[in-house]
């Protein structure tokens, strides 16, 4: 194998083998089964199913709402991480732990709780209703649920980077005459951008796949508030396995392409963030120090 590298830690062959087997069992084989099942359809039938108006509306809602939710999480997640890292206040530890709750809570519970609060008679929903905004049983409800379940990602990816951020860099910016906004936008933001992008990607991916919480708050009206995962379940319940997998394949290809694109973007944006202390070059050329006669 030409790509095998000598290293002080042995086991390249073993670990690579394990990785491939593991990924195959957990990810690749189940996903290929999806493609296999979908291929039982003729091309025309496949195209008919995946481009039906109901399916198209569900793609729009799923990807649109996920994107909006991930953007909201990107902005507020960074704000939350900033507050948790930079300030000390009573109850900080409790707030910090609360961030992880959306991970732990069964999504159905989250869905029911959110619906209760945001429905037209709920605590928040009634005020939104009075100014003409319908939160639950509308696309907005979907966005709310997806924002909830994606909350921890950006916070948890940005937080450690902010903690590690060299305070001297900010002081250097200030001593060079940068005001607070310039220090933030030119120094801090670019430093946390790769981490924030990672968090955004994960929140986005998580939102695309979310099912449990959305079905309670969206109302599941075809063409209006029906997300793609629900459409797949509906088809399964009607024993339309081929139809379900056809839509699943579309989602899969879509999601994978997007994640790949974001990953490439991230790789590009973080290309100079290898924080390691070892420089790639040693002292390039000797410093032309003035010649001193040694006493």
């Amino acid at each position: 194998m030409t790509f095998k590298q000598r290293s002080i830690l042995p086991g390249f062959g073993l670990t690579l083998g394990f990785t491939l087997t593991y990924l195959s069992l957990i990810v690749l084989i189940p996903l290929s089964a999806t493609f296999l099942k979908a291929s039982s359809l003729s091309w025309a039938a496949f195209w008919h199913i995946v481009t039906s108006p109901r399916a198209l509306a569900s793609y729009r809602l799923t990807f649109g709402a996920s994107l909006i939710a991930a953007l909201i999480n990107l902005f507020f997640g960074m704000l939350l991480a900033w507050v948790l890292v930079r300030y000390n206040f009573p109850g900080k530890k409790i707030f910090d732990s609360m961030v992880d709750l959306p991970f732990a809570l069964p999504t159905a519970v989250a869905g029911i709780a959110l619906t209760t609060i945001y429905s037209t008679h709920g605590w928040v929903g009634r005020y939104l209703d009075s100014i003409g905004i319908k939160a639950a049983y509308s696309p907005l409800g979907v966005v709310i649920a997806l924002t909830f379940i994606g909350l921890p990602f950006v916070v948890r990816t940005v937080q450690p980077v902010l903690e590690d951020l060299d305070k001297e860099m900010e002081e250097a910016a200030a001593s060079l005459g940068a005001n607070r906004w310039q220090t933030f936008s030119r120094v801090i933001l670019p430093s946390v951008a790769p981490a924030a992008l990672t968090g955004f990607t994960m929140a986005f991916a998580r939102a695309i796949g979310e099912y449990g919480s959305v079905v309670f708050i969206s109302g599941n009206m075809p063409m209006k508030t029906e997300i793609t995962p629900l459409l797949i379940i509906t088809k399964l319940e009607q024993y339309d396995y081929a139809g379900a997998t056809a839509i699943a394949v579309v989602m899969l290809v879509f999601s994978f392409t997007m994640l790949l694109a974001i990953n490439l973007l991230q790789k590009w944006s973080s290309r100079h963030h290898h924080s390691g202390g070892t420089p790639e070059v040693v002292e390039g050329e000797a410093l032309h120090a003035p010649v001193y006669a040694e006493a």
């Binding site: 250097a172 005459g177 670019p190 963030h273």
Partner: protein, 344 residues
């Protein structure tokens, strides 16, 4: 631009970082703040820069009180020990940063920024590395970029916090000679913090020796080295042997008994001989010899059992043919006597 620090004190919790510091730095000088860690030297530098604020006292530049001004308003160039370069910007953008963040009406045109940065790159001799990122540079190169970045805004004073602290010995020596030369060219009032006495003595016009939040002595390198004002300064500025002893008609008498006075002698100011030469002397025998280097380091044990470090020239070492366990006479050539209660 001259710097005046008057009656500055600073506490961190219960720790007195600075107590009542008064310091005047004339325009165009290169001054070293020298002291052990915890002596308050970095705190003083940061107070001058406006990165830290004094509890009491004032800082002025050219007679104008700037105590309440922020770092941004003071227009100081600050160089950090760990460079604090912007990792996501290349060398060019790092240096240009201070010019780019200026308010629009004061911001130079792109062409002017370019020529300014290239001029600085020439100055730090890194012209061909403008597109590199900080992680692709060596420590010495990074520190030079940090210096150029600080100089780009044409600061009124240049402040350097242990600028060579994280570099290896060779690069460090090269860089500090270069800094001295640079200062001779651009004559900007500069203050640098160091714990390395050799560095302070070699580079600075004036050395400010600090200890426990106070200034022990201010003077030229020659002054502080040859005429130390306190036992601390004597101790800190070089190796030293301490003896119990006393002055007797201008002659130091060194012996093993406590007398309330302590005699300070630098290792190279002790002479070794086979015979007593009539003056002040004591007997000792040789414990260890290290002949590597310009001076031979001889460790002896006095007749009353104290270890003493002595440095003799290679010629003297060969002439005396010293070997381990030899019994010799030690003659102090120049000593300083301090009262014990003042000795640290």
């Amino acid at each position: 631009m001259s710097i005046e620090v008057s009656k500055v004190s600073k506490r961190f919790g219960t720790f007195n970082a600075l107590s009542n510091i008064n310091l005047e730095i004339p325009s165009g000088e290169l001054v070293a703040l020298l002291g052990p860690s915890g002596s308050g030297k970095t705190t003083l530098l940061r107070i001058i820069a406006g990165l830290e604020f004094a509890d009491t006292g004032h800082v002025s530049f050219d007679g104008a009180d700037i105590t309440e001004q922020s770092a941004r308003e003071r227009r100081v160039g600050f160089v950090f020990q760990h460079y604090a370069l912007f990792r996501h910007m290349n060398v060019f953008e790092n240096i240009a940063f201070g010019l780019r963040v200026r308010p629009r009406q004061f911001r130079p045109a792109e062409a002017a920024i370019r020529s300014k940065v290239h001029e600085l790159l020439r100055l730090i001799q890194l012209e061909n590395l403008a597109q590199r990122y900080p992680s692709q540079l060596s420590g010495g190169q990074r520190q030079r970029v940090a210096l150029a970045r600080a100089l780009a805004v044409e600061p009124s004073v240049l402040l350097l916090d242990e600028p060579f602290g994280s570099l290896d010995a060779k690069v460090r020596q090269e860089l500090r000679r270069w800094l001295r030369q640079l200062h001779d060219e651009i004559h900007i009032t500069s203050v640098f913090v160091t714990h390395d006495q050799e560095e302070a003595l070699e580079v600075a016009d004036q050395v400010v020796v600090m200890n426990q939040g106070r200034i022990e002595q201010i003077g030229s390198p020659d002054d502080v080295y040859n005429h130390p004002a306190s036992p601390f300064v004597y101790n800190f500025l070089g190796n030293v042997n301490l003896f119990h002893g006393r002055m007797d008609e201008g002659q130091p008498v060194i012996h093993g008994k406590a007398t309330g006075q302590v005699v300070y002698v630098r290792p190279h100011l002790l002479e070794i001989d086979r015979e007593p030469n009539g003056g002040s002397h004591f007997r000792a025998h040789i414990k260890h010899i290290n002949a590597a280097g310009p001076l031979v380091k001889v460790d002896v044990i006095t007749e009353w059992g104290d270890p003493v470090h002595i440095q003799v020239s290679q010629e003297r070492y060969r002439a005396l043919q010293l070997i381990k366990d030899d019994a010799v006479y030690v003659i102090p050539k120049d000593v300083r006597v301090f009262e014990t209660r003042r000795a640290s």
